[in-house]
Symmetry: C2
Subunit: 412 residues, 2 copies
């Protein structure tokens, strides 16, 4: 018999408890022993629930209960989650979390604490919700070197982009719809400015390459500047625009890690990941392209990943799983301007003919994009693959001819 506790009874936390009681028989069969939910930590009271007697407002009830061996942290945020998780690991309890903010900010440190105390710290639910991604990356793909990881990591922004692409909505209109449907917060910044996706690509990069990447090190751009015109120009190039978290190991030993809108070719399976779905494309030197697709958020999908981790903690309670990465150096993340990419440029141009003459002089030759109702005095083109910093310098040299509106990378 193993005792369990759940910290936080919000959307995910209540889902964890619901799922535990719903599938208890098969969960215990997988775990190989009986399980008992002993405490649910929340400041609120839930007198009407069948398990209302499990609630506590005192963290110490969990920390000091010797029967509790596995704890799920599903409160979110850094405080007090960080202190609680650290104390539990130090007390020799296994911890599972869905808290991407916590893992992106403190992953290396908490993994080291877990290792020191010979317990598991697992966080499958922190990336891709119910999509199995961290464990397959760590295990099944362990005979691979990851050449690149590209992910649609945020369902809210993907819903907005889908509405802009499929129904021609403007950004504001699509955001309002997402808010109305409960997909976006009233303050949507964490989603639309890319911070949520940033935390997730940090976790993926840290796991893939073994050193912690911190959110502050990642060049992060959201989707707020994307216009219906960009969507239409991208379509001419047979691409869709998606918010992409991307990471790649350079030969230098530094890691590229960015979050930004990117043009994705219509031939890529990422291009048809729509609505609130997420997908992560993992490119390996042996496997080639492997993609994981599913709901990146939501009560039961996320809860199922948390519960699966709890089961795995029970199974591996005596021989911890060797998930591990070390702290990264301050200069571990490469300057993204050194990355070689083709670049989409959408710009104002007073005189389109003169502009293209100069553009083609500077870039050699570019692919001009145009469509029937394109706004007057606006152009878009694809600058050829080159270090992004050089392309940006070239654009500066064209400041007499064009005034860039949006500049996005083009994915291969």
């Amino acid at each position: 018999m193993q005792g369990l506790a759940v910290m936080g009874h919000g959307v995910v936390g209540s889902g964890v408890v619901e799922l535990f009681y719903m599938n208890r028989e098969s969960i215990e069969a997988r775990a190989g022993e009986k399980l008992e939910l002993r405490h649910v930590l929340d400041l609120r009271e839930f007198p009407d629930l069948a398990y209302s007697d499990k609630f506590t407002t005192d963290f110490n009830d969990i920390l000091n209960d010797p029967e509790v061996t596995v704890v799920a942290e599903v409160m979110g945020g850094l405080k007090p989650a960080y202190d609680f998780v650290k104390a539990l690991l130090e007390a020799g309890k296994h911890v599972v979390t869905s808290n991407k903010e916590l893992v992106a900010a403190k992953g290396a440190e908490l993994l080291a604490v877990a290792k020191e105390h010979n317990v598991n710290f697992m966080f499958e639910a922190s990336v891709g919700g119910g999509i199995p991604i961290l464990r397959p990356m760590h295990q099944c793909l362990s005979a691979n070197t990851f050449t690149e990881i590209l992910g649609i990591l945020n369902g809210t922004t993907n819903f907005i982009m889908t509405k802009m692409i499929k129904e021609g909505m403007a950004f504001d209109e699509a955001l309002a719809l997402a808010q109305q449907l409960g997909y976006a917060e009233r303050n949507p910044s964490a989603d639309v400015d890319g911070h949520d996706a940033c935390r997730k690509i940090c976790i993926l990069a840290s796991l893939a390459y073994g050193k912690h990447v911190y959110p502050a090190q990642v060049q992060t751009e959201g989707i707020t500047k994307i216009t219906a015109t960009d969507v239409a120009f991208a379509k001419v190039h047979n691409c869709v625009i998606k918010l992409i978290g991307r990471t790649r190991m350079e030969e230098s030993g530094k890691v590229q890690c960015t979050v930004s809108p990117m043009l994705i070719p219509g031939t890529s399976p990422l291009s048809m990941v729509d609505d609130v779905f997420n997908a992560i494309m993992v490119r390996g030197n042996a496997t080639g392209d492997v993609m994981f697709y599913g709901k990146g958020a939501g009560k039961l999908p996320t809860a199922s990943a948390v519960v699966a981790d709890m089961i795995d903690c029970v199974v591996h309670k005596d021989h911890r799983k060797a998930i591990d990465w070390t702290d990264g150096a301050t200069d571990y993340v490469a300057d993204c301007k050194t990355e070689e990419m083709a670049v989409y440029v959408h710009a104002k141009a007073a005189n389109i003919e003169t502009a293209y003459t100069e553009i083609n002089k500077v870039f050699g030759c570019v692919e001009a994009l145009d469509y029937a109702d394109a706004p007057a005095q606006e152009i878009a083109f694809i600058a050829p693959k080159a270090p992004v910093g050089e392309t940006l310098e070239k654009l500066k040299s064209l400041s007499m001819q064009i005034e860039p509106i949006n500049v996005f990378w083009v994915c291969e």
Copy 2:
């Protein structure tokens, strides 16, 4: 230090050895100890290889080498693979295989032998090649009940279907191209008649629902009868035709398990899985739809799955992983005629108007499909969702009006 052996030095076997030497450092880091390749079993000699001294033609060299703890079986076929694998497990050695024929025919028995001797028997590479699917299903999704599994499980047939759908090729033409490119064998029956996909859905169904499903129990239909006309009619219904392995647990406790061409809606991510790629859609009661996508075959993708299993065997050499299913009863697989599905019917009709009058009388109302260049005296329609057996009976009752050419299930 753990000793390894590889049985079979064909496409996959040579890939396993290549990958082992290529990524040896990271493989040993994951395994947690040094690894030595001690034997490669093959009847042929390879004097020019750097590891030519490892070759043997005598299975006993592996069986009787006490240093060998993990063996990869990548010979394929049932004989002698079955005898070899069983003997190795009985001798207390961990075995990894990519051999879908072996697992589909003997999985329950070999898992029982492995359990009895407290060793691992792993076969991630047997389904989906380099796509991690069995382990994520078993572990990450362990808090789920699988409501349905749908897979594009054979790259050769998917390449042929892609050419028929995207380039309007006829079946024979697409098959000839696949043979020319080395994707299809000169005798393509195992692929185009669905036997390969059948073995894979048997493995998925056995793992998902805990009891062995044998290939002979599965209603299996290949792609040889699909015509360009079917592809065009399906398009009118906004669908593509794919060869689908499908399994679902009935409330009765029996399992549905089939391989057949199915109409897949254009809105499903399965619809855009093209060329030799595979994808498996796993539907869970908690996760919703989760899809795994990648190359289902090929030297290095498959080898990477084999090597990952070998690493996992080393990591779990003292505490075997609890992958397990039991033998199924002879009546465990349900009659597929009881399954409720919408059905696509493509038929000859001497008098189209009369035919539709009768069809609509019998079925209530059907959705008629038509396109500009459709062959004269041929019709296609979607019969409403109902037990398939009833639909087939109704079609029989229409034998004076229509002569069915193809009848396919429509996926939801």
